[in-house]
Amino acid sequence: MIPGPIQGDAVTIMARIEQDHNRFKQIVRGRIKGNLRKYITRGELIGRKGKDLISIPLPQIDLPRFVFEPRQKGGVGQGEGDIGSVIGVGENEGTGEAGDAPGQHVMEVDVPLEELARILGEELQLPSIQNKGRKNIVTEKDRYTGIAMAGPESLRHFKRTYKEALKRQIASGTYSPLNPAIIPIRKDKRYRSWRVSRMPECNAAIIYMMDVSGSMGEEQKEIVRIESFWIDTWLRSQYQGIQVRYIVHDAEAREVDQETFYHTRESGGTVISSAYKLCDRMIAKYFPPDEWNIYLFHFSDGDNWSQGDTEECFTILRELLVPRSNMFCYGQVESPYGTGQFLADLKENFSAVEKVVVSQIESKEAIYASIKEFLGKGR
């Protein structure tokens, strides 16, 4: 007699592998969480972003053993080729981190952006955002949820129809295994059916503004880039279909696309009010504030052209931008040249206004704390 080791046991196997798989995912998640500060400050994740997934390199998650140094190992192969012919390229280990434990086993895990945002939220203890709640705006969404007996042919569910026909043919004895033709009749046919769900819509827009005057160097831009990536990730997890706009300014402001935003290098003076004015026009045109949750971020090194312009900025902020937005965030990166007076002035004028958040980002290490300052309020 042959015992059947897994007969009728399929369900439990399923559960078992799922348990182990979940445990593995949990461990991966823990590792990501533990290393989050490092990921945030390095900014290397940004290049690894796909549509919904982000691929994160994790240091050794495998079990350590006594093994040989792989590069000394060599081996035997089979095929054509002269002595000296290249048959493969060594793994490019330890990319860009010279001296950081060479030859470390790096494993890539794909994490959904949503999951990453959740980890970010947990780690930074970010509160969920309170929606501005435009309950009067409702969108309708169709979702295929069930099966119906009637419907258009284009929505016919092949598998279900086939099954019904098969059932009927077997029951009526017209099915023959030798000629297993299945011919569905009218009442065998099954169709997908849908349900309309109504959802209150919440629109959100982020407008990034960046000072690209001569004093903003590559490093400052890198900081802005990393910070806005994480802010983006978080806000996207809180709203669906978020709109993002970019404005750069020196003495003048203009709207640019994402690529340009991060990569332009301009020179010239700094007139911050130009950006705020453009921003205001943009809001007026595209994002009527009673329908949109608006987040404004402005990054600069804080050297404005004149005190007079600073005054103008504050007027615009006080009267137009702050009342219309959920939040106005100002992040000031260290400037090698200037005094960074704008931050101090802003603090002086707006310290009582909750919606205005200011943060100083001296270095990449400070990004972590800065994100928390910006998003820690849950607005």
């Binding site: 059947g4 050794q60 002595i83």
Partner: protein, 500 residues
């Protein structure tokens, strides 16, 4: 799901052919499963029931992903057990299922008859399930994470076993002698001679050497272990200050490591044997005209070789065929080896017809190392276009380094010896008289991956609880790597090696 009636008919047919050819296998129980379940079971190393561990989840994720991307597909899996259990992929075409069944009967025959498998537990399916139950029980009692961490540590030294110890006793049982006799042994033994010849036959240097040896023996008897021990896991089970459940877990993982060891030792032979028989059975018996193309496609996929990687299916299959041919034509032995006429050698044929018999013998007594050592010939290496390759530091690429027979053979054997793992021994459990564990790596030209070695020491330390040292060679310098529970240390050394 058991076999469908169609497949069952095929199974009977294939099984009949296998018997006709003289294969002597454990009965095979076939299961037809979907790819998802196949990936699950493969993640568990072929067993549907294993103790819970995240590593299986990791393996599963990997398999699932590469299946999704179309990088691999597991047609079949077979477990060394009596009866054998084999899994067939549901989506295999009929001709695939035939090949796979024939292949599985080959494996089953190998499991049953190859001597290196003779000590494996043939009720391993049950045993694994028992292991799982026990580990689960420890988890319930001591907490999941505590047990899981300990399992991690055990797995870290999973490869530190001594597969050969299954076949003979490594340690001679200590002779129990009465107290009095012990003293007698201490007397320096003199060679018999006439009195006046005494100083010539037994010069003072000789007596001194004798005395020294006795002294060494005496010291050795006091040392733990007396001889370097390769089965580090066993040593820890016997001597580490751990709780009972930990001892049990360590023993479970060691058991499983020993069970899987012969599969590592005979990968080339086992896959070669199964491929030999599936091609034999298919091409001579089971194939219908309509299936020829599909069969050829499948078979060529199985034995395809990538440059820089050796396909064990291919190498094994070709080597069996070569052996069969040589013994059929009598191309072996002194007379053949010493013949230096090229043409005569090429046309050599004594019509012995011993080939089939020979390969059956080979599959019984050899493992991969001895298999290649005994049967790899210069002609075969040239025919198969084998080469050695190495890493080129300057260009960062792997390049072909040689096509000479001797180098190829050496490289192959080196890669297979101890399953391509370093030899690690316990040489002293009371290092510095402080209860510290001293390990030695028998260096044979390749360094250890140092960062991993450190992590492994950390894991061993958790089991041993006292500082742990490993003597090895790093870039041609003898070094001792240590972990004392808080810090790693690394120092040069000139101490003698105990294992060489």
């Amino acid at each position: 799901m058991p076999l469908t009636p169609d497949l069952e008919t095929l199974r009977r047919e294939i099984r009949g052919y296998a018997r006709e050819y003289g294969l002597d296998f454990f009965e095979v129980y076939f299961e037809v499963i979907g790819h998802d379940q196949m990936n699950e079971i493969a993640a568990y190393g072929g067993f549907p029931t294993r103790y819970p561990h995240w590593r299986f989840g990791m393996e599963y994720e990997h398999l699932k992903k590469s299946y999704t991307y179309g990088l691999h597909r597991i047609y079949e899996m077979v477990i060394n057990n009596d009866p054998c259990t084999a899994y067939l992929l549901e989506s295999n075409a009929l001709v695939d299922q035939k090949i796979v069944m024939a292949h599985v009967y080959g494996h089953s025959d190998f499991f049953k008859n190859n001597v290196w498998f003779s000590r494996t537990n043939r009720k391993m399916l049950d045993e694994m399930a028992n292991h799982a139950t026990r580990v689960r029980r420890y988890m319930e009692k001591n907490g999941v994470e505590v047990v899981e961490d300990f399992v991690d540590q055990c797995l870290s030294i999973e490869s530190l076993i001594d597969p050969h110890s299954q076949f003979f006793a490594r340690q001679r049982p200590r002779e129990d002698k009465p107290e009095g006799e012990e003293e007698d042994k201490q007397v320096v033994h003199r060679l018999r001679s006439k009195d006046y010849m005494m100083n010539f036959i037994n010069p003072p240097q000789f007596l001194e050497a004798q005395r020294q040896r006795l002294e060494d023996d005496r010291l050795k008897a006091r040392r733990i272990p007396e001889e370097p021990v390769r089965d580090v896991m066993k040593f820890l089970i016997d001597h580490a200050p751990i709780e009972n459940w930990q001892r049990e877990v360590l023993a479970i993982i060691r058991d499983e490591a020993y069970y899987f060891a012969p599969q590592g030792q005979t990968k080339i032979m086992n896959e070669g044997w199964a491929s030999y028989w599936h091609s034999k059975i298919m091409t001579e018996k089971a194939l219908t005209d309509a299936e020829v193309i599909d069969y050829a496609d499948h078979h060529s996929g199985t034995v395809a070789s990538h440059p820089g990687r050796l396909n064990p299916y291919k190498l094994g299959l070709e080597l069996y065929k070569d052996i069969e041919d040589r013994w059929n034509r009598g191309r072996f032995g002194k007379e053949y080896d010493e013949c230096d006429d090229h043409r005569e050698k090429r046309d050599w044929d004594l019509h012995l017809g011993l080939g089939r018999e020979k390969i059956f013998e080979v599959r019984r007594i050899h493992n991969d190392v001895t298999f290649l050592d005994a049967f790899l010939t210069p002609e075969f290496c040239a025919d198969q276009r084998l080469f050695t390759f190495g890493y080129n530091k300057k260009t960062g690429t792997y390049n072909i380094t040689a096509r000479e027979f001797k180098k190829i053979k050496d490289q192959l054997l080196f890669g297979l010896t101890n399953h391509g793992q370093p030899f690690i021994f316990v040489t002293d459990a009371n290092h510095d008289n402080r209860g510290e564990l001293f390990l030695e790596h028998r260096h044979e030209g390749l360094d250890l991956k140092v960062d991993w070695a450190r992590e492994t020491l950390r894991n061993i330390h958790k089991i041993w609880t006292r500082p742990v040292h490993l003597m090895t060679v790093v870039e041609e310098k003898r070094k001792i790597l240590s972990f004392d529970g808080a810090d790693y240390a690394e120092r040069d050394t000139t101490d003698d090696v105990a294992v060489a």
